[in-house]
């Protein structure tokens, strides 16, 4: 299981990478494996200010569909433009080219993110 040590994680199997007050968010290697072949990522919340736990999009695999949740409150400032053409990139490179959104966050209000070790424990 690929769980990079330098990222933060959520119980909804998303990863968070902080760069100043911009958080890049995607789904974990565990999540992409569970979903199987991803065929569509629908994110229509660009520019919106969302609460933590609010749905920011949906990921569709061949066999299943799953909501994407905000790990913390913030404004969606960018959606990965590469997902429209090639959603399978989430399967191929979940922590890199498969990123989903960038969110402007309040650094004092990041919620309860998990460390890599804590997430590793969660997914066994």
């Amino acid at each position: 299981m690929n769980i990079p040590a330098d990222l933060k994680y959520t119980r909804d199997h998303e990863w968070v990478k902080l760069d100043g007050d911009i958080a890049t968010i995607g789904i974990t290697d565990f999540a992409q494996k569970e979903l199987g072949d991803i065929v569509y990522v629908e994110i229509e919340t660009e520019g919106e200010e969302l609460d933590g736990e609010e749905v920011f999009g949906t990921v569709e695999a061949v066999k299943t569909v799953s909501d994407l949740f905000m790990p913390m409150a913030g404004t969606v400032v960018e959606v990965n433009p590469g997902l429209e053409e090639n959603p399978a990139v989430v399967n191929e490179d979940a922590y890199g080219k498969g990123w989903m959104i960038k969110v402007k966050v309040d650094l004092n209000n990041l919620g309860s993110l998990l460390s890599a070790d804590e997430y590793k424990e969660l997914v066994g």
């Binding site: 199987g36 072949d37 065929v39 569509y40 629908e42 949906t58 569709e60 061949v62 066999k63 569909v65 399967n91």
Partner: protein, 367 residues
């Protein structure tokens, strides 16, 4: 199915696990849903050859003088059209216009038949047929002692021919033979499947399953044979528009609504055949249609179907992204006026009404 219930392994579950399959509970069995990935497995079957363990399916043997009369009474198709070695797709109509299950009927001899039923309906079917057995037919449920492998794909006969003297390439669709396969006697080799890719379904005793599985993989190695999970089985069948019980047909859908009029022969006098004759003659108010998404979105079971004005006109029964065609496809019931081919319908996907177009089946046409 309650989670506390113990899952039954098939005779091959340990092999699937060793091959790295993702195992899921299905109709009380522990079944392989995926090995390398659904798209890759799907394409493997469309272009080469793959093996599904579908041992969860149920096999009932009906024999004796009353066998024909019982099967003619409980199934919708005309059993009189069968000859030895021939197979018929059929369904078990209930008394209220719906379907107890869909099934295959194998005629072994004039007085012996094998019925192959869905695992999820096995007990319901057994009880239903038993209840209607006023013909003195002998019934035997051999589901627990039999395994079933579906070897599917355009290279299936080439991959398997070295294992049997049955002339596989010349077997007609929906026929079967009983013979020696991989050195095992009394194996049923059936030119059927649920994929539209061609191939065979092979019925054997559980104790022979492992030997036959390994023999198939050895014989098919030059053709690049691979194990395939149930997820790809579902996408393959949906590309052909084959109904899945529990999704597209159930206790409340009529075979006529489901487009199964071709296996519904009221003149053969089955349970509720008068009503089916009436529906065939007078028509039905809703129909199962196939559709392709025009705008972006993937239809799923139970999503509402709307007309252009937003009025609900039906419901999605199956949907997926087609791995062969790379478009989103689905089936669903709509009111009759909206069932015409090329008609525009709208699938309610979350909070949006997404445009789709009614199309003819199959979605996938063999090259």
């Amino acid at each position: 199915m309650q989670e506390t219930e113990t899952l039954k392994p098939t005779a091959l579950s340990h092999i699937h696990t060793a091959l790295g399959a993702k195992m899921v509970p299905f109709a009380g069995y522990e079944m392989p849903v995926q090995y390398s990935g659904v798209n890759e497995e799907h394409i493997q079957v469309r272009s080469g050859v793959g093996v599904f363990d579908v041992s969860h399916m149920g096999e009932f043997f009906i024999s004796g003088k009353g066998a024909f009369d019982l099967i003619q009474h409980v199934t919708s198709n005309d059993v009189a059209a069968l000859v030895d070695g021939k197979i018929q797709y059929s369904c078990l109509p209930n008394e209220t216009g719906g379907i107890v299950d869909d099934l295959l009927v194998y005629r072994i001899s004039e007085e012996e038949y094998m019925l192959v039923v869905n695992a999820s309906n096995m007990q319901k079917d057994w009880d239903w047929i038993s209840k209607h057995n006023s013909f003195g037919a002998k019934m035997e449920n051999r589901s627990e002692e039999m395994s079933l492998l579906a070897v599917q794909g355009p290279k299936a006969s080439e991959a398997l021919q070295s294992l049997t003297s049955i002339d596989l390439a010349n077997m007609k669709y929906y026929t079967f033979d009983i013979g020696t396969f991989a050195g095992v006697e009394n194996v049923v080799v059936s030119a059927t499947g649920y994929t539209g890719a061609g191939g065979f379904e092979i019925y054997m005793r559980n104790e022979d399953a492992e030997k036959i599985w390994h023999a198939i993989f050895e014989a098919g190695a030059p053709q690049g044979i691979k194990p395939i999970g149930l997820a790809a089985r579902d996408t393959l069948r949906l590309e052909m528009g084959f109904c899945l019980y529990g999704n597209d047909i159930n206790d409340t859908t009529s075979p006529i609504e489901a487009g199964l009029g071709w296996i519904t022969k009221p003149a053969s006098g089955f349970i509720n055949s008068e009503e089916m004759a009436r529906q065939k003659k007078e028509g039905v108010t809703r129909k199962l249609v196939a559709f392709e998404m025009v705008d972006r979105g993937i239809p799923r079971h139970d999503y509402p179907i709307n007309d252009a004005e937003g009025n609900e006109i039906g419901v999605v029964t199956s949907g997926t992204q087609s791995p062969s065609l790379n478009i989103a496809i689905g089936m669903g019931y709509v009111t009759k006026p909206h069932s015409a081919v090329d008609g525009e319908i709208f699938i309610q996907i979350r909070n949006k009404s997404v445009k789709a177009k009614v199309v003819k089946l199959p979605f996938y046409k063999a090259q």
